[in-house]
């Protein structure tokens, strides 16, 4: 199943190569020019003393991977589902629903990781890359956990919403939240205490906090990572149930 979904994504990229490539290249450049360049003049360091670029470039990678995760899950679990295409056909293939959700998460995750690696290369060309190899490897581990959680969120959203307007409003709010509510660009310490506490404990921000802790102190908080991983797996089971109900299987 994973191979079939991967090949399909490759074909879709191939069929729309030029617009996809333009978007792929434009996104990191726009984020760098419109967010990094002005904000680094305002916030030289985070509240905990981390240089802004060391804070924000990995944040950009997380943001770009969030965008990279979206198309496959949006297409199959919302757009094509509400138009009764593809998802039902895939669901009739001889696989468990759990496997189907897992397969989609893995394929969307691989796509997002590839996009994040390409952006990482682009950022390295635009400014000196602030992370060591070990930092980068650990970032990819945290990114994978984050993508598991976000992918499940996108799937839940795609399955539970049936109207286009509602879906796009929620998507818009979600991306504002991804940009500003996960600590990718603005450190939680800048928020009032109540909001800060909420943001710190909301599941999507935890993998990035684990990463920030590592680059600040070299400490790996396995408890944070494993609890996020566990939540992601439980959420996957929840999505399996939602999918069964939606498809009346």
């Amino acid at each position: 199943m994973i191979l079939a979904l991967l090949k399909r994504r490759l074909w879709l990229w191939q069929n729309r190569l030029i617009p996809s490539l333009i978007l792929l290249l434009a996104m990191p450049v726009i984020l760098f020019a419109l967010v990094n360049l002005p904000l680094k003049n305002i916030m030289g360091h985070s509240l905990s003393g981390v240089p802004f670029e060391l804070w924000v470039i990995p944040g950009f990678i997380f943001v770009i991977s969030s965008v990279g995760l979206f198309p496959l899950l949006y297409r199959d679990f919302f757009d094509l589902r509400v138009h009764q295409k593809v998802l039902v056909h895939v669901a009739l293939a001889p696989y468990r629903k759990r496997m189907l959700i897992g397969g989609y998460l893995i394929v969307a995750g691989i796509e997002a990781m590839i996009l994040s690696l390409i952006s990482l290369v682009i950022f390295s060309g635009l400014a000196p890359f602030p992370l060591t190899v070990i930092d980068t490897l650990f970032m990819m581990v945290c990114l994978a956990v984050y993508l598991l959680l976000l992918g499940n969120y996108f799937i839940s959203m795609g399955l539970l919403i049936d109207t286009v307007t509602t879906f796009f409003l929620i998507t818009f709010i979600t991306f504002i939240f991804i940009l500003f509510g996960n600590g990718f660009i603005i450190e939680f310490g800048f928020f009032p205490a109540g909001i800060e506490n909420f943001l710190r404990w909301q599941p999507l921000s935890i993998p990035y906090q684990a990463f920030q802790l590592f680059i600040r102190s070299g400490i790996i908080d396995w408890a944070l990572l494993f609890s996020s991983l566990l939540l992601g797996l439980l959420w996957m089971l929840g999505n399996t149930t939602i999918l069964k109900r939606k498809l009346r299987h």
Partner: protein, 308 residues
């Protein structure tokens, strides 16, 4: 003959409404079975249950003896389902859509390629293989959906309006292919194209309000009405008195009128002469005699009460 599909007291409810009411029947392997009925009769729901698209509220469906609910994965490998509406990925090409299914069902590349060539040639689909699915006509999309299912070589092929949106040539090619496949595959389909059904079936299930009203080969279904013929006589002037006279002819069944046309059924052709004799003094403009067919069977009055 061995059963390919077996339904045991299968029921489906939507809200409080009964869509299928305790259906029990079997379909033999390698047969071509048509399901017909008026709109909302439960045909498409039955097709969805057979394909695994939906589960019944009660009862069991068996495919090759395997319970569809308990042996879900195995039974799904045996089934190919072609829905009524296009469900292709709009941004993949026709061939990519087919290959995607081949990959999902783990058909190796060489086998998939051979099957694509065979079925695409049979359906005259080759010139469209590299077209983006949303850019081709609905008829081509429908043929693509059929090849997409055939590429994983299912034992049971379930189709909702198999020739929907197709032109005459495509309809002919599709039925040629399906008749060729019959025997190796059990084919069960829903259609409103009665002329096509009359030409392509081993068995017809006539559905009405979630139940099977009639079941058998067309000849068998018409057996009880084989002797019936449908007559129409157009008069210059069909007066009320004349209509009453004709309607009272003992052998005339279900008489009715439309302007100056007298319409009736009769068990033998002789009924026609009885009517002609009764109306011999009147000026007749046109005559029409027809043996009953599937369309007449499906007429709601006919299906509900019978001619008598």
């Amino acid at each position: 003959m061995e059963a390919s599909i077996t339904l045991k007291k299968v029921g489906k409810l939507i809200g409080d409404k009964t869509i299928l009411a305790g259906l029990t029947f079997g379909v033999e392997r390698g047969t071509l079975v048509a399901i017909v009925g008026v709109n909302d009769a439960g045909k498409s729901t039955l097709i969805k249950l057979l394909s695994g698209f939906e589960n019944p509220n009660y009862g069991q469906v068996f495919i090759h003896g395997l319970d569809m609910e308990k042996r879900r994965r195995e039974t799904r490998e045996l089934i190919g389902y072609v829905p009524h509406e296009n469900d292709l990925d709009p941004w993949l090409t026709v061939e990519q859509n087919i290959r995607f299914t081949a990959n999902l069902y783990k058909v190796n590349t060489a086998t998939a390629s051979a099957r694509i060539v065979r079925f695409a040639e049979a359906l005259n689909l080759v010139p469209y293989l590299n077209e983006i699915a949303m850019n081709v006509s609905h008829g081509i999309q429908k043929k693509t959906m059929l090849v997409r299912e055939l590429v994983h070589d299912p034992d049971v092929l379930i189709m909702d309006e198999p020739t929907g949106y197709m032109d005459a040539e495509s309809i002919r090619l599709t039925w040629d292919l399906l008749k060729e496949l019959k025997g190796n595959k059990t084919i069960i389909y829903v259609s409103n194209a009665l002329a096509e059904i009359e030409q392509a079936h081993d068995r017809i299930l006539v559905f009405h309000e979630g139940r099977i009203l009639m079941d058998g080969h067309l000849d068998k279904l018409l057996e009880s009405t084989m002797d019936y013929h449908q007559f129409q006589i157009e008069f210059k002037n069909l007066s009320a008195k004349l209509y009453k006279q004709l309607a009272n002819v003992a052998t005339v069944v279900s008489p009715n009128r439309l302007d100056n046309i007298f319409h009736f059924y009769g068990r033998t052709r002789n009924v026609f002469f009885d009517v002609i004799r009764t109306a011999s003094d009147e000026l007749m403009i046109d005559l029409n005699v027809k043996k009953l067919g599937l369309r007449d069977l499906l007429d709601s009055e006919f299906a509900g009460r019978g001619l008598d």
